[in-house]
Assembly symmetry: C2
Homo-oligomer: 225 residues x 2
Amino acid sequence: MPHGGLLSNETGAALQQVRTEPIQQRSAARLSGLLDAAAAVVDEVGFDRITTAMVAERAGASIGTVYRYYPDRVAVLHALHERAVVRFRQRVVDELGASTLTSWWDAVDCVVTAFVGLYRTEPGFRIVNFDDRHGAPTADAVADADFFARRLADVLVNEFNLPAGAELIFRLEVAVEMADALLARAFHTDPVGDERFITECRLVLRDYLDRFYSPQALHLLAALS
Amino acid sequence: MPHGGLLSNETGAALQQVRTEPIQQRSAARLSGLLDAAAAVVDEVGFDRITTAMVAERAGASIGTVYRYYPDRVAVLHALHERAVVRFRQRVVDELGASTLTSWWDAVDCVVTAFVGLYRTEPGFRIVNFDDRHGAPTADAVADADFFARRLADVLVNEFNLPAGAELIFRLEVAVEMADALLARAFHTDPVGDERFITECRLVLRDYLDRFYSPQALHLLAALS
DNA sequence: TGGTCACCGAGTGGAATTCAATCATCTTGG
DNA sequence: CCAAGATGATTGAATTCCACTCGGTGACCA
């Protein structure tokens, strides 16, 4: 299942995600506690064997409490997914800030590094590969699909003068899909991640994007316009 | 989710897949009828919302009949998956037979064409993207993961003299993962398949493999040994 | 006409989800 | 600063839904 990996939107996140916005401060702790519990359970039994009871018990709460915050079981998974994505984005900007970037490639590399790092350390991070596929096409699935690609496009345009536009976004969408698949494959059985697939992922991304956005290609492009 | 797409194994297929081998001829019809029903339901509600009752009703059978042939719900999905894979392979060989192949690229192209064709016409074909992810690492997940890659490797080695070996298999595994992801993305919302992703898939595959197995690269390789 | 093969569908059990009762924390008038 | 409400938070028994079982019934075959 493609998509769902690096991608997500922000607006739709809180949209009916949480039943009741936490008012008192203890609720916030409860909420993140529930997600921590869910993450732990995901690591233990996988995210289709998860039960609401497990999450509740692990969080030291009762079943009812889970349902106070989330309308149903998959909503919990969605929330966990969202949190993972948020942390991923944070990690990316950290990574970007800590590195000296000499070309767009370094930025792409940072993204891969951030993803791999989280896969290794963040409990339940495999949830980023969760995408519940409905038969009925999810209403705004496409709308939020390319969110991350757009984000990344902005960075590449502003920092490295790549040509903005729908084409760049599409290319990045493709790149994200490929990276997602290869990295997920790297961690499919190996908890540390199969290095062969990780390095091949970097290679593929670079080659693919180089085809359009290498210095030479850009130079050529500039000459034409 | 990675793997599971174009891949599958053959040995594990019939292994505990069907509870009772059909003895009388009407049973065979029942069996395929159940799978047809399952395929229809998959198209309607997606393959995680599917219920045994839905399949039974759709097939004009009772719950018990479903369980006469399949030990549990996921076994039905596995069987449907297997059938899809079998039909896919058949389609690939048909396609290969009908085309005049001038290079390994044509063979790869045929595979993509077959996959896209089935996605468009075969009910429930999206099941090829089904891979039940357990928390406990599936015992032989890796073992059957590269089955299709090996198969394809055989063809490419025998027909187009690509250099056999673990490297080729790994490359094809990577290629399969990428193609799987991009094609699944193409059909994620669009039932006819987003042509942009399909053509980009062909492009990516060609570029990726060309890097190692283009005539020039092969020539170079031959010179070194 | 007995012996399998197929089939049925009410029944069982476990997990998902609800909800009315209870506890905890705020807040407001005195 | 302190009662009571008022409102948020929590609980867990009850309910619903769904996978799966099994004893009984008809269909085929020899």
